[in-house]
């Protein structure tokens, strides 16, 4: 009798042939949320208030209330988040088929390029060169952009605001539709505060990653960390957003399974 497949899987985890990597930032009040022009509505940052801590407010228990937007901390973008995705089927966090919460991941390392140029844009040529080294991006795989942006630990470095706005890497306007059309990717993930580059409002269309990914019913992940612990190919991502009715996204715990290094 063969060992059941999930028993094999657990054995691989227990023996260290598989690693579990947490790609999630800790939710703290200090963690920056995306900054929009102040006349627009703003996403609430993470805020937490203690309900009780083994005290007169609750003698044997500790718990908190917290508040935040759907797009605070490490979070998932559903297609309904963007106007281009508003009429897609099953486009909100509560209606996305659960099987879409597990997918393979390709990690494209642009950390050196991003260190040199915070406005680095991922291009088709760059992805093709990456594929030449690491293999073709499989169908329905997350494409995760490793920029090491998560290692920028202060809000000032992380948001990297200048007088002309934020400066952080992202995809250009050509590579996103190409990833969808030619590679049929599952979604796009980044370490910075959005899936698009800090200056993506100047691209055509503005915010191309949001525009095309969600317009084609694909997903986004942002504020990821520990991408440097994943192989270019071969990792599996568990990313299941909270089941908010008609929710546009949600903070979540993103876990990756990767073969032992």
């Amino acid at each position: 009798m063969t060992t059941p497949i999930l028993t094999q899987f657990m054995n691989a985890l227990l023996t260290g042939r598989l690693r579990l990597v947490d790609l999630t930032q800790t939710l703290t009040p200090e963690f920056p949320t995306i900054v929009l022009p102040p006349e627009f509505g703003q996403a609430w940052p993470f805020r937490i208030e203690e309900i009780s801590r083994y005290d007169e407010r609750g003698p044997a228990w500790y718990w908190n209330n917290f508040s935040m937007s759907e797009h605070t901390g490490t979070h998932f973008d559903a297609p309904i988040h963007w106007i281009s995705g508003k009429d897609q089927p099953d486009n909100a966090v509560d209606s996305i088929p659960a099987e879409n919460f597990i997918a393979a991941a390709c990690v494209i390392d642009v950390s050196a390029e991003s260190a040199e140029n915070p406005d680095f844009l991922l291009t088709i040529d760059f992805v093709e060169a990456w594929e030449a080294r690491h293999g073709r991006i499989p169908e329905r795989a997350w494409v995760l952009l490793r920029t090491d942006w998560s290692k920028r630990t202060t809000p000032r470095e992380y948001l990297n605001m200048a007088e002309d706005g934020a400066h952080s890497p992202g995809p250009d306007a050509e590579v996103v539709p190409w990833l969808i059309r030619a590679r049929n990717v599952h979604g796009f993930g980044t370490e910075s505060v959005g899936t698009d580059a800090g200056q993506a409002h100047h691209l055509n269309p503005p915010y191309p990653c949001h525009y095309y990914m969600h317009g084609n019913n694909r997903y986004g992940l942002q504020c990821l960390t520990n991408l440097d612990q994943l192989p270019p190919q071969g990792a599996l991502i568990f990313a299941a957003p909270l089941k908010i009715r008609n929710g546009s996204g949600s903070p979540l715990r993103v876990l990756a399974l990767a073969p032992a290094a």
């Binding site: 200090e30 920056p32 703003q42 937490i48 202060t154 809000p155 992380y158 948001l159 605001m161 007088e163």
Partner: protein
């Protein structure tokens, strides 16, 4: 001549901190008319509408003609010192700790003879000016001051019991990055504050004026976001024992009424900053300030809320914000009651429109933030509790007394 203040020496950390005591606080309801005048820096007494007699002490009927028609009015503050004495003993715990204390009787030009705290620079039998000021119980007392200002007269120990001078004190400005916060920090430095802690709620954002301010060696930048309980608590745990004057400049102002919006997010954000913000600050900084209210010559003295005249009456074009201002005023009144036990004065500032980015479309006259900041410093030096700044604020305050419905209707047009 009053000796100028000297910078307080560093405290001996193994000496017990003296706790706050308060001067006698009981007053008749009539006498609270003096407290109202003192709170706003005016000199008023009851004047009989029938016979014109000026009344002191405050009473229900005229001491001369028994008329009940007594109205609080500004009266001549000049007088002549009849007799003075310097107390070297008192059975009252508050005065025991502050002896010697000079008191005297003054014959007012307006008629009554009053007993007053007498300034050390007043010469015996000389001419004096009277001033109503709040004591550490928050009640009105009369100070007899020299007829003409003398050098450092506000620095006399008796005066300092009725004032909250920033000189040599350490001040926390909760949001030092806003136009108002920058102006308050600068005004505090100009007034001789020893240290100004300036809160930075947006450390990711560069503001050139803030960076220039931070270059002053008396300025310490601290991370502080009043919507983040943890940030408030962390800061209080680190500098809470040093803050002697706290000025809450954190503010959230946005246009918009109630029906014109689809959500209450703006209203909630306004409440979070403008109402819950000072409550968080109070819970974190209040106890420490109360504990240090009588600590040496420069104890914690004042809590300043920068509100708006629209805390008193709504500006429907900014309905959600107005509601937050009214709530902030209400919270400030509670805080005043809670801090009074230690003698920490809660000062509410009611400016008219301020010349800052969110008031861009407000027609002039608008107040420069520096004007408001100077009024705050002046109010602290004078020991006032309610500070109305600018013609618009003064006018609205005055008109609310006469016909609050008229003001409500006009602002709603």
């Amino acid at each position: 001549m009053t000796e100028p203040l000297v910078k307080p020496k560093k405290k001996n950390p193994v000496e017990r901190t003296r706790l706050a005591t308060r001067p006698p606080a009981a007053r008749s309801r009539s006498a609270l008319g003096l407290t109202r005048a003192a709170a706003e820096g005016r000199f008023e007494m009851q004047v009989c509408a029938e016979c014109g007699a000026v009344q002191y002490p405050p009473r229900e009927v005229c001491g001369r003609c028994l008329s009940e028609r007594l109205a609080w009015k500004p009266v001549d503050d000049r007088g002549e010192l009849l007799a003075t004495t310097t107390l070297r003993h008192s059975n009252d715990p508050y005065f025991r700790e502050r002896l010697p204390w000079r008191v005297g009787s003054v014959k007012m030009a307006a008629g009554p003879v009053v007993v007053a705290h007498v300034h050390e620079d007043c010469t015996a039998n000389g001419a004096v000016r009277l001033a109503l000021k709040l004591d550490r119980s928050g009640q009105a007392v009369i100070h007899a001051l020299p007829a003409k200002n003398t050098p450092n007269m506000n620095e006399a120990p008796q005066m300092r019991e009725s004032t909250c001078d920033p000189k040599f004190r350490r001040v926390l400005v909760s949001d030092g990055k806003s136009a108002m916060g920058l102006a308050v920090a600068e005004a505090m430095l100009d007034a001789g504050a020893a240290t100004v802690f300036v809160g930075d709620p947006t450390i990711w954002k560069r503001v050139a004026a803030f960076d220039r301010l931070a270059a002053d060696p008396r300025v310490q930048v601290v991370e502080l976001d009043v919507t983040d309980t943890d940030s408030v608590k962390r800061l209080a745990a680190s500098i809470g024992g040093k803050v002697e004057i706290l000025v809450n400049t954190a503010a959230y102002l946005r246009d918009g009424g109630i029906l014109g919006r689809k959500d209450v997010i703006l209203a909630r954000d306004a409440m979070d900053v403008n109402v819950l913000g000072p409550m968080r600050l109070a819970q974190a900084f209040g106890p420490g300030m109360c504990f240090r209210a009588a600590d040496g010559t420069h104890g914690a003295v004042a809590w300043v809320n920068v509100l708006s005249i629209h805390a008193l009456v709504a500006l429907p074009g900014r309905g959600a914000w107005s509601a937050s201002m009214a709530a902030a005023l209400s919270a400030a009144q509670t805080l005043r009651a809670e801090l009074r036990g230690a003698g920490v004065q809660v000062v509410n500032v009611f400016p008219g429109p301020i010349d800052e980015e969110w008031e861009q479309l407000t027609p002039p006259p608008k107040l420069a933030p520096a004007t408001v900041a100077k009024a705050i410093v002046q109010g602290l030096q004078d020991g006032r509790e309610d500070i109305y700044v600018g013609d618009i604020a003064e006018e609205i305050r005055e008109r609310l007394r006469h016909n609050h419905k008229a003001v409500e209707r006009e602002l709603g047009q």
